[in-house]
């Protein structure tokens, strides 16, 4: 089995961070369907950011 390491380019890293920031804002939306979808998606993107060592945050405490 090959163990070649795949790495994000700098542009991809920035894209990922932008997606995270946008989702975090949308997670506070007053539209229930948008907020719930954003929160679910944000959770997935957060694991990708943490997995790549780019960001690590315990964010849900700010939500009502």
């Amino acid at each position: 089995m090959s163990y070649e390491i795949q790495r994000l380019s700098e542009a991809e890293q920035q894209q990922l961070q932008r997606v995270y920031d946008d989702l975090k804002q949308l997670a506070q939306s007053s539209v229930p369907g948008v907020a719930s979808a954003a929160r679910a998606a944000l959770a997935q993107v957060a694991t990708a950011l943490s997995g790549e060592g780019l960001a690590y945050e315990l964010y849900s405490k700010d939500w009502k």
Partner: protein
Amino acid sequence: MPRDELRRRQWYKLQRQLEHAYAGSEFWRQRMDSAGCPPDQLKSLDDYSARFPLLKREEIGAAEAVAPPYGIFPSVDPKLAIRHHQTSGTSGAQPIRTFDTARDWAWAAEMWATGAYAMGVRAGDRALVAFGYGLFIGFWGLQYAFEKIGCTVIPTGSFDSEKRVQLLLENQVKVLACTPTYALRLAHTARQLGVDLAKEGSVRIVVASGEPRPEATKRKIEAAFGAFCGDTAGMTEAATIFMFECVEEPGGCHIIEADYVEEVLAPDTLQPVGYGQRGVRVMTSLGREGIQVFRYWTGDLVTRVPHSECRCGRTWDLYQGGIQGRADDMRKIRGVWFMPSMIEDVVRDFAEVDEFQITLEKREELDTLVIQLEPGAGLEQLDLRDRFGAEVKRRLGLTPVVSVVPPGTLPRFEMKAKRFRDLTQQPTPA
């Protein structure tokens, strides 16, 4: 990742975890204050390991009992939870209740996905999870991990073994997830149906979890399915797995060190033991925001070895042989250290034995190991008792009392097999 960078990342995450717990959890704030180690007083990972108090299971129970279900333990409002799980409480102890936020659950699935991917699971694979899908967390996270990887998942919560064998064949299932005990039971059921899964099935990976899995059991599962059997282990208190066996089969499991700080301590002195020495696993999770555990005394017996013993290239250390047993199941019998998994190791080399039970009893004032063996139907052999007893004596240096019971007599298990009872600890009936 180089290990010094890994340590830096662990320390960064741990600091954020401690700050979060101090701010959000009454239990953790009180504990850190009384131990003199609030987050701003801890200087390094080593300082943390030296000074932060160990957490015992009963303390979580007590913190939750203040105001059930979660009491003063959580670090975020439980209203943020998207799911609840709890331990069975079958050992007589109060069950441990936990919850996960959306963020926590995505992380839990990510840990399982890390392990499954390292075993060779890929998008497009068909996976069957043989698990009850109830309150117990078990393989719940793996269901979501398979989905995340891009597998087609076949959940078989309410199905019996015959139906599961049928589903394995009909759907050309490549990945099977279950306990080691249940994998053997499925193979046994298939044989009773006249099916040789190694020849007629498509399973190539068995993800085994939920019990210690001796090497002989791994070999038996691999032969029965014609597949690689990868070991993992997790716990309700962590929501997910903390280690996995990669396809290089290094004789143990990689610790997911990017998301856990793991220590191994001597059970008597509580001091760290070195590589290659057996001790009790102490876990700190760096993953969750709702239910957090710092320096949790798990009771799992492990032997840590360096990552360099595996060829896969990961820099995460290994637990040689996975979880070897439970500290509370370890006994000294007539001067010889004993763990139930040692008997399982012998059993798996006797192909005619389907199931077994072990008890430790007082006989004529002496601690005595009593073993019941159940052969498969049609496999009864007159000399089994003597051959098995001699093999235990040869490998363990103990002379057990062995009996052979009729096929179908002993209990079967889907999760967390209970095959050892210590009757010497029980009061003598009047």
